[in-house]
Symmetry: C2
Subunit: 460 residues, 2 copies
Amino acid sequence: MSKEIPYKIYLEENEMPKQWYNVRADMKKKPAPLLNPGTGKPMTAEELEVVFCKELVEQELDETNPYIDIPQEIADFYKMYRPSPLVRAYCLEKKLDTPAKIYYKFEGNNTSGSHKLNSAIAQAYYAKKQGLKGVTTETGAGQWGTALSMACSYFDLDCKVYMVKVSYEQKPFRREVMRTYGASVTPSPSTTTEVGKRILEAHPGTTGSLGCAISEAVEVATTNEGYRYVLGSVLNQVLLHQSVIGLESKAAMDKYGIKPDVIIGCAGGGSNLGGLIAPFMGEKLRGEADYQIIAVEPASCPSFTRGKYLYDFCDTGMICPLAKMYTLGSGFIPSPNHAGGLRFHGMSSTLSELYDQGLMEARAVEQTEVFAAAEQFARIEGILPAPESSHAIRVAIDEALKCKETGEEKTILFGLTGTGYFDMVAYEKFHDGKMIDYIPTDEDLQVGFDGIPKIPGIQE
Amino acid sequence: MSKEIPYKIYLEENEMPKQWYNVRADMKKKPAPLLNPGTGKPMTAEELEVVFCKELVEQELDETNPYIDIPQEIADFYKMYRPSPLVRAYCLEKKLDTPAKIYYKFEGNNTSGSHKLNSAIAQAYYAKKQGLKGVTTETGAGQWGTALSMACSYFDLDCKVYMVKVSYEQKPFRREVMRTYGASVTPSPSTTTEVGKRILEAHPGTTGSLGCAISEAVEVATTNEGYRYVLGSVLNQVLLHQSVIGLESKAAMDKYGIKPDVIIGCAGGGSNLGGLIAPFMGEKLRGEADYQIIAVEPASCPSFTRGKYLYDFCDTGMICPLAKMYTLGSGFIPSPNHAGGLRFHGMSSTLSELYDQGLMEARAVEQTEVFAAAEQFARIEGILPAPESSHAIRVAIDEALKCKETGEEKTILFGLTGTGYFDMVAYEKFHDGKMIDYIPTDEDLQVGFDGIPKIPGIQE
């Protein structure tokens, strides 16, 4: 075992990133803009400011500045749980008997249990700075809602969370953590909003979806004085904040002269993946270095590998701006068998464009394989991974095993986004042999687009 | 906010302790020895080796060597999750508006979620080295069982856990984490042991206690070839391993020239407290420095503050050696209202002796006050603390508020032993105003001694 590189590389406080990195600044062909569904024209700052905080809108629309200062207040909060460790998976390498060198950036060492806090604290900060009373949001598996509750508690902001109903019922403890931080949590769809009532009328007994919960949260934000809506993934601003993951990873690797060959991240809306790969993709875009970048998604929610690249609604209620993205259709609802997050129907516009340009690849994996990797990893590396993160573990192990066959000494970096403490129901299903894989047919996938109006002048 | 001392002090790998510290070596009056309940004579190594691993017995009986080398295999495992951070609670200080400086040593940054892993990995290592097939143990709140499962999985040892029945039923997720690491988990008392059957016959419908579960685990270890019993607290060997907490804390503080005035730890059997205070108590015993040391225990299980200092059984089945300790009587079962751990009827012999010599003090706190402190801490410092750890938080906050009154700039160090992810039922009770405080009357406390035979020649 090499004595030179420690098990965990921690940056010193003064080595932590002082700016976020905005990958769009280095893209020659920029991601397609958000469109106003009414006019078909790009959303203006004024239009977006009805929904989002002012400074976050600036960040959302900024395609030119590669670096944006991290305000001191956010940097101070980051110091409470960052830098996160970059871990050399010595034990896993040994167990797999692979010549590959495996590193993971572990973002689960904070109470929210995931990387989501990196953007939550930024969004809460800008909301506070704008003098708002509070923010609204949706949460699915619960990581984002938990992170936002923590952030709002820190800045003394009200926090209203719409939680996908099936998750609200299956994960009462997630709800209690949010309450511990003072948030109010409502199962979605609910009768507290007009759009919720409409959805409930059309689909009585629905267990909800992220798309529904987004619609409700946006309605509450736009109809209540002093509130704005915040989102934990998909948006450019979120990828910007999450770039702290990649910047720290790169700084830690540079410190020890390590260069990754393969970079692997799980992808739902793209917040973790976009953050992890940001500075590496920047080098790739500027022609300074090359990396193999792999997005991993669930076979049951395969937006990159089986979705269409077109303008779509971000929410079920069709009240949000249109985004051009790889999408399964805004009517898509993942199978109830699907455990964990990564269940949004679309994918970040920025990542969609990078994928379309061939700058990264994507793989879909089945959930029993994912949980097998999760359990193996837990037993060897000691961290109980979230189901989402375990998608990346699966492919990292697969790549390391390929190296074993070929003898290649590749350096693999993957993002371990969070812990699975609130996912034990899914682990139990897996242990009891009751977890089912689900690969939708092409007909199943068509359902996401059925009944969604085509957008005149934008889609045929 | 001082810029000199970082939010979190991490030692470098080469600054980590290479030896454990054995506080008994510096005690002039040693703790009373374990006695054989049959003969009334001190347990010999040979007698103890029927129950415990050979090298652990040596550690248990060693009263002379102050430092014991940490074997390389254990040091390697420690590197996977240690050093744990020593955190300066800048945000809490600010919120309390206190001149006190508050530090906490956070042991929850590993999957087992607590400090218990420090001893679990050591005990599993010695079991493996001895060529055993596996180990048995009991667990109450579940932290110890989880830690031991992880440790056994790492060394490929079988792990049989007897889990107090009430906890088994209330905490199915704890059970699943242990299963993820390959352990078998049996609710106690059970019909898998003779002692379990006896207890069930005498107390049908009992929800179990740590004392019962210990009896069952010991029976299984002593009647199955290739098994030994391991324990997560109370014993000298456990305090020895846990000294890594205090040694790291002291090294980190020394690095920045910090000297604590007050050191606070929660106390059930004493594993965390004994570990945290070890090197500081050593200095105190050698007359090199003075510290105020405070043990915090639940008002509903007050062994230090209201127990008797005498020889008692460690288990309900009375099959374990006798220990001289502050005890509520081996028949004591905490009120069902009591949430969280710290529910053992006795206290480490070493800590009992130190307390009896006046080298430390003790306080009992009620659980609603503890959860109020837990919630306040979570909202300010971002970490969701375990109920056990929150006992220390309560007193740390109380001490800091006293400093606010007196203007004293005391430096407070407390042990944050773990996270509360699996304790959300208790948090929910607290949020809903349904948590009840329980202070036993003197008559209630007498029950722990009723029906327990007096030990001839040792007690009256």
